[in-house]
C-alpha cells in the first residue's frame, strides 16, 4: 500500500504520530528528572521537575558500585542468542506448516497451537526441576533453552508465509531447487518484515522477562537487567534516583540495537518488494 497519500491525510498522520510520540515519551521525562536528582523521594512538595543542580551521582554509583554492566552484557548475550536460534527454528517450522504437505500436518498444527495457550508462569516449577536435573541451573543455558520452546513465533511467521503465492514455489521446484534452497533463497527474503517483527518481539520478551531469571539464576553477576534493577530496590526507603538512572541507561543499547535491526531488515524488504 504505497499510494501517494493526499495532503490532508499526510497532515492527519503526522498529527497522530505526534500524539503517539508524546504519549510514549512523556513518562520517560519523569524518569530522566528523577535520575538527575539527589533525593530518595519520588516527589518533593512542591515538585521540582528540573533540578537547580544536575546530580550525576546516581549514574556514577550505578556504574561503580553495582553489577550493572554485567547485567547488561548478560541480557544482550542471552537475548541475541535466543533471537538468532529462535528465528531459525521457527522459520523452518513455519515453512513446513505453511507450504509443505505431510502426514499429520493438522495434528502437529493443533498440538502446537494448543501448547501456545499454556501460561508460562504455570510451568515454572516443573521447568525448574527439569533444568535443575539437567544440571543447568545458574548457567546462561537455563535462560536460553526453555525460551526456544514456545511455538507462538511459528504461527506468526506462518501467517506471513501462507500469503505468498504458491506459483513461486512451483516454478522453483520445476527448476529443480530443493526445499531448503527454496526456503533460504525465496521464502526468507520475502518474509523479512515478519522476521523483523519476530526478532524484535523475541528479543523484547527476553529483555523484559523477570520471573524465570529470578528463579533460574542465583549468582548476582550472572543475572539479567530486569532482576538486577529490581534488586536495587530495598524495601523501606527506595533509591528511586538509582533505579531511574539504571532504567534510562538500560534503554540506550536496546534502542541502538532496534535501530540497527530494523534498518537492516527494512532495506531488504524494500528491495524484495520492488523486485516482486
Amino acid at each position: 500500500m504505497s499510494l501517494q497519500p493526499t495532503r490532508p491525510m499526510m497532515a492527519a498522520s503526522y498529527g497522530l504520530l505526534a500524539i503517539a510520540a508524546v504519549v510514549s515519551i512523556v513518562p520517560f521525562l519523569y524518569i530522566l528528572s528523577t535520575s538527575i536528582k539527589d533525593t530518595r523521594s519520588l516527589f518533593s512538595y512542591p515538585p521540582e521537575w528540573i533540578p537547580d543542580q544536575v546530580f550525576w551521582g546516581n549514574y556514577a554509583k550505578l556504574l561503580q558500585e553495582t553489577s550493572f554492566l554485567n547485567w547488561t552484557a548478560n541480557t544482550f548475550m542471552v537475548g541475541i542468542m535466543i533471537t538468532v536460534l529462535k528465528l531459525a527454528i521457527d522459520a523452518m517450522a513455519a515453512y513446513a506448516l505453511a507450504k509443505l504437505d505431510f502426514v499429520g500436518k493438522r495434528a502437529v498444527s493443533a498440538v502446537l497451537l494448543t501448547a501456545v495457550a499454556i501460561p508460562v508462569a504455570a510451568l515454572i516449577i516443573p521447568l525448574f526441576f527439569l533444568v535443575r536435573d539437567m544440571g543447568l541451573l545458574n548457567t546462561y543455558w537455563a535462560l536460553i533453552l526453555p525460551a526456544l520452546a514456545n511455538p507462538l513465533g511459528i504461527f506468526l511467521l506462518r501467517s506471513f508465509i501462507v500469503s505468498l503465492p504458491d506459483d513461486l514455489l512451483h516454478s522453483a521446484r520445476l527448476d529443480g531447487a530443493g526445499e531448503f534452497r527454496i526456503f533460504v533463497q525465496i521464502i526468507l527474503p520475502l518474509i523479512s518484515s515478519g522476521l523483523v517483527v519476530h526478532a524484535i518481539f523475541t528479543f523484547m520478551l527476553q529483555y523484559t522477562n523477570f520471573l524465570w531469571p529470578l528463579v533460574a539464576i542465583q549468582t548476582e553477576s550472572r543475572q539479567v537487567l530486569t532482576v538486577g534493577i529490581a534488586s536495587l530496590k530495598s524495601n523501606f526507603v527506595v533509591d528511586w534516583g538509582l533505579i531511574s538512572a539504571a532504567s534510562l541507561l538500560a534503554t540506550i543499547p536496546i534502542t541502538l540495537l532496534f535501530l540497527a535491526l530494523q534498518r537492516f531488515f527494512m532495506a531488504q524488504s524494500l528491495s524484495s518488494a520492488l523486485k516482486g
Binding site: 523521594s41 548475550m77 520471573l211
Partner: protein
Amino acid sequence: MNMRTCFSSMTGAGALAVAAVAGFGLWTTPVQGGGHVSGDITMIKGPHSADEARFNAMIIEDFKAVEPGVNVEFTTYDWANMNAELTAGFASGNPADVLYLVDLIYPNYAEQGALQDMSDLVSAEEWAGERALIPEFAWDLSRQGGGIWGVPVLGAVYNIFVNEDLLAEAGVLDTWNSSYADMMDAAKKTTGDGVYGFSVRSRTGDFAFWDWLPYVHNAGADLLNDDWSGCGLWGAEAATQFLIDMHEAGVTPPIGSMSTQEQFDLFKGGKIAIYHGETPQIGELNANPPPFNWDVAYAPPGEQGQTVMGNFGILSIASASPNKDAAWEYIKHWASGPQVGRFAEQVNLQVVREDIIPGMFADNEAMRKVQQEFVPRVKGIQPHPQILKILQSIWPVAERAYRGGMTGEQVIQEMCAITDEILG
C-alpha cells in the same frame, strides 16, 4: 562474546574455587578462638539499604580475621519476590547456607523441612552467655513446632511519624495520642488546606496489615487464638471500626490512591500530620531534614494495652546445607554485639540483644527513642506456618471496609470465617 568460551570459563572458575577451598583446608593454620572450620558458604538476605552489599562485606571482612578458612558469599533476594526466590533456592537442592528470614515466612519453610532445627546449636554450653542476651520473647518468635529455626537478630518497628508543627498549630500536640477519640480529634483539626490529618497503608502489596495490627493488639485480640486453633480477632471490632471511621471522616488521602512511599513523600512535604511508617525511614528524615519538627510515636492505648507492631528477622541454616558448621560460625559472628550493632545503626533497624541497646544510636535521637521505649512494647505476629496466607487472605476484607459500607463487626466476622477455613 563467544558463548562456548564463556561457559567453559565459568566451569573453570568453579574448579578453581574448589581447588582453593581444598587448599585452605590444608594450609591455613587455625587462629586463636576460631579457625576450626573451613569451606564456602553463601548467605542470602533481603536488602535493608541500597548499600546492603557493602555493609555485609564489612561483616565478612571481620569474619575472615577469625575464620580465615571460610569464604562467605553474600547475595540478596528481592523483597517483593522473596518467596519465589527462596523457594527456588530450596528446590534447587543447593540453597544458601545462611538465610535471613522474617517471622512472616520462616514458619512455612520450617514446616516443609527446608530449615535446620537449631535447638542443639543454640543450647550449647559455649554459647549460653550469648543466648541469654536475647530476650525470651524473641526466642518465642523463632520457636515453632518443637524446634528453634533461627537466631533472632534484628527487629523492624512500625511506628507513627508526627508533624509536630501541624499538631501544635491545631493545639493538640500534647493530647493527640491519649485516646482514640483524641486521635480522631487531632486528625480532624489538622486536616484542610492540602493537609491530611492521618494516614495508614491500605494496599495488600504495601503489607498494610502492619498498620492495623497494633490497634488489634491494643484491643487484646490477635490473629489467632491462644492455642492457634482458630481465629483470635474477636474483640478487635471497635478498633477496626475506628480505622473505618477515620477513612469516612475524610481525614486521610483518598483510599488506595497512594503507596506508602508516596504517603511518606507527602509527610516529608508537611502534608500529613500523623503518618504510619517504619523506622528505616528515620534515616531518610535525618539525612534530609524536613522543614518542620517531627517525632516518632505509637498508637493510643486501647482497652487492653498500648503495643507497637514489630517484625523480627532470624538467621537460619538450610537443612540442605553441606557446611552447617561454617554456617553456624558465621551466624554467631553476624549475631555478635559489634557486628549486628553496627549493621543496625547503618540501616536504622532495631537489635534484639539487650547488652548493646544502651550504647546504640548515640547520635540518632529518634532511633534511640524507638530502641529504648518502643521495642519493649513490641508485639509481633504469631509465627504459624499459615500466617502469611491468613494475613493476605483476610486483608481484602479490610480494604473493602475502609471504603465504607461495612462495620467493624462485619469485618471481624468475615475475617474470622476466612481464618477458620484456612486453619481447617
